[in-house]
């Protein structure tokens, strides 16, 4: 933030002021203020909140189900709601025309002809395909819906004739959680080893540091590939999902662990830890009461920063066909379908999951950046 950094340690926001009565809540508040100030971080977190909400409410936002196929509309271009009919009349309520679809035997292309006689209006909060939210709320209310035979595909359909718009949000459930699950596993693993290494030192520390050193220097993709190839192929897609998370975290925990270790290492020498040790507090107590809380904010920041890599990892693995398998879907898997020449040339709408991936990664980067600054309010 401030380039001069430590140049006025005694003059401005030095430790003298922290304890002042007016500033008791200042650490947390300062973090928030600093975070709020970072507009990009704020935007990033808003985007992410929306993404995660959309993933949770995928069934509601998408007009169609995850596996609902529209047999006459495979790889269909977007069929958007319209406001102006073929005669040029304006309608405030969006509508669509029903489409006839036939394959032209000469060009092998599907030809859509719209039936302009009937307007099918979009219904909002209307009943459609049933779905569940969070595994227990069963409902069939969709944000918007149009009655058969008309269709509305905001982002077109995939080669199986499934609504891409709906599927992207179902895919988000996997892609967005794989990062969280992976990071949580990394956190547990990395924090335990990091704290243990930093606190106890010794041989354990040496060995774990050596392992981590190799691990974090290793290019990720070959390691992912090698580990993903280990997943028993007979596993169901849910098991696979967790296996992929584990693979991602196995590759990732090292960096996290190393940073935690560094912090613990520094904290170990702090007065209050030494005091606790002289007071013959147990190691466990020192770790859980003193070390963990003090490293927590940093750990969370590091975790946030490593989520994008995990999301990209899942995307890459699924893109190569080594990741998530149907009937689940994920952004990587959706993109796996999009890596065809025909898609790039004739069906570009199938690339929209890439936009979601990019937006998510960028948002996480923004957020992580903001959190990192905020977590260290005295950095400047």
């Amino acid at each position: 933030m401030v380039a001069t950094g430590d140049t006025m340690p005694d003059s401005l926001i030095g430790p003298d002021f922290d304890a002042a009565e007016t500033e008791v809540i200042s650490v947390r508040r300062l973090m928030w203020l600093r975070f709020k100030r970072n507009r990009l971080a704020l935007i990033g977190s808003i985007v992410l909140v929306l993404m995660y909400l959309a993933a949770v409410f995928a069934g509601f936002i998408g007009p169609y189900g995850l596996r609902e196929t529209h047999e006459k509309f495979p790889a269909s271009a977007p069929l958007l709601p319209r406001f102006i009919d073929d005669e040029g009349n304006f309608s405030l309520r969006p509508f669509v025309y029903a489409m006839e679809s036939k394959v032209d035997t000469k060009t092998f292309k599907r030809v859509l002809t719209s039936n302009t006689e009937v307007k099918h209006y979009l219904h909002f909060f209307a009943r459609g395909t049933p779905y569940t939210i969070l595994g227990f709320i069963q409902t069939d209310i969709h944000l918007f819906h149009v009655n058969e035979p008309a269709k509305v595909f905001l982002l077109g359909t995939d080669k199986q004739g499934r609504d891409l718009f709906s599927r992207i949000f179902y895919g988000a459930q996997v892609s967005l959680t794989v990062g969280l699950v992976g990071v949580s596993l990394s956190l547990i693993f990395g924090t335990l080893i990091g704290i243990a290494g930093g606190y106890f030192g010794g041989l354990f520390d040496d060995v774990s540091q050596r392992v981590i050193e190799v691990l974090i220097s290793f290019p990720q993709i070959p390691l992912w590939l090698a580990l993903a190839a280990l997943i028993p192929p007979t596993w169901t897609s849910a098991q696979r999902f967790f296996a992929i998370s584990i693979v991602l975290s196995l590759v990732n925990w090292g960096g996290l662990s190393r940073q935690v270790r560094g912090m613990v290492y520094a904290l170990r020498e702090e007065d209050y830890v030494i005091a606790a040790r002289y007071a013959s507090a147990s190691n466990w107590r020192i770790i859980t009461k003193h070390l963990l809380p003090n490293t927590l904010s940093h750990i969370l920041v590091i975790a946030t920063i490593s989520i994008p890599a995990m999301i990209l990892g899942e995307t890459a693995l699924s893109f190569l066909g080594l990741g998530i398998q149907p009937p689940m879907t994920s952004w990587g898997l959706l993109l796996n379908q999009a890596q065809h020449t025909r898609v790039l040339i004739q069906q570009p709408w199938l690339l929209t999951p890439a936009l979601f991936v990019v937006a998510t990664i960028i948002s996480f980067n923004f957020l992580g950046d903001g959190l990192r600054d905020a977590a260290d309010p005295f950095a400047n």
Partner: protein, 359 residues
């Protein structure tokens, strides 16, 4: 305008007039230095005394224009009579990246800092860091610069200066590093040395040696010193004149003997009483009541009134006193010595202006 001395030389080396340096932070604007005026005589030694956060360091940084964003000098004048000895030049008017300013830094005015441990570039040898200063200010060859550097090291009483040249900062102790810092500062024989708490980070023995050294050097070289410290003892040893700062303002100013003999401002008095004196029983130390408020949250009226034992309610908490001369060369900013007739009424001296756009 002060009188010109003989041969048209201005008697003062540096004159700071109504300096205002502010920090535009996310919580608002912090008036770190709020209308400070000081004079440093040629070859004189001015002590700037105050607690942490009173703005004394920022004042020092302001002179060399070392205040970085979000800090900025917003008003006042720093007139330097080192080169333009009669008319002087206003350092605040110079561009931060200008060649003119660069030639002031190090060559005319040098500065040493509180933290000798971090104030040297860890990747370069001590010698090269001293030589760097010389090479950028004097038209000498490398080997000449080396010679000067060794001489300077010798001058700061560095044992085996030629060997130390090859050492890296991390190989030296704190005191040695501070000597190196002083050597860097002295290598170009500046007319003014700003010493920003140069001994705070050092142990007592080393502190004494460094202070001793600085005094000797001042005598030898005849340069002026601006000595910034919170330590009355240090001030007593080093300074001829003293300015006491509190929350960005100078509250009392006089020569050193006067100040120690008759401190007038309640804050200065409190400071004096907080020093343990030989013969006084431990545990009877008088501390100043309360804490220094945040500079971003300056109380209305006299900034010291919430902690002041002699505060006059209705006056001190509404009006800000001005610096008044109570006797020759002794200036105090307090209503105890002022009827308040020419005081400004400041109901809200809180400069936390949240509407101010952030830099």
């Amino acid at each position: 305008m002060a009188l010109l001395g003989e041969n048209g030389m201005h008697p003062n080396l540096l004159e700071i007039t109504d300096l205002k340096t502010r920090f535009f932070t996310e919580q608002g604007v912090v008036p770190a230095v709020d209308g400070v005026s000081l004079q440093i005589k040629r070859g004189g030694a001015l002590g700037l005394l105050g607690e942490s956060g009173c703005g004394k360091s920022v004042t020092g940084y302001s002179i060399l224009r070392l205040v970085r964003p979000p800090g900025r000098i917003v008003g006042g004048e720093i007139r330097y009579y080192g080169r333009e000895t009669s008319r002087g030049e206003d350092l605040t008017a110079l561009d931060e990246r200008s060649e003119e300013l660069r030639q002031v830094r190090g060559a005319e005015i040098a500065m040493i800092f509180q933290e000798p441990m971090t104030s040297l570039d860890p990747l370069f040898s001590v010698g090269s860091q001293i030589m760097e200063a010389i090479l950028y200010h004097q038209d000498v060859t490398k080997s000449e610069a080396r010679k000067i550097a060794i001489e300077t090291l010798d001058r700061v009483r560095m044992p085996q200066p030629a060997d130390v040249m090859k050492n890296y900062p991390h190989q030296l102790s704190g005191g040695m590093r501070q000597r190196v810092m002083i050597a860097i500062a002295l290598s170009c024989q500046p007319k003014l040395l700003i010493a920003d708490e140069p001994t705070t980070a050092l142990d007592v023995t080393t502190e004494a040696q460094i202070l001793e050294l600085m005094r000797e050097l001042q005598d030898e070289l005849g340069m002026a010193i601006l000595f910034i410290t919170h330590d009355l003892g240090v001030i007593a040893e080093m300074a001829e004149d003293v300015a006491v700062m509190y929350l960005g303002k100078v509250v009392e100013r006089s020569d050193i003997e006067t100040l120690f003999a008759d401190p007038q401002h309640p804050y200065t008095q409190a400071l004096m009483q907080s020093i343990p004196k030989i013969g006084q029983k431990a545990g009877r130390l008088e501390a100043i009541r309360g804490m220094v408020p945040s500079p971003g949250n300056v109380p209305a009226g006299c900034p010291f009134h919430p902690r002041c034992n002699s505060a006059i309610s209705g006056l001190c908490d509404t009006k800000a006193p001005q610096l008044q001369q109570t006797r020759a060369g002794h200036w105090v900013s307090c209503f105890l010595y002022d009827d308040g007739s020419n005081a400004k009424i400041v109901t809200q001296n809180n400069s936390l202006d949240r509407k101010t756009p952030l830099p």
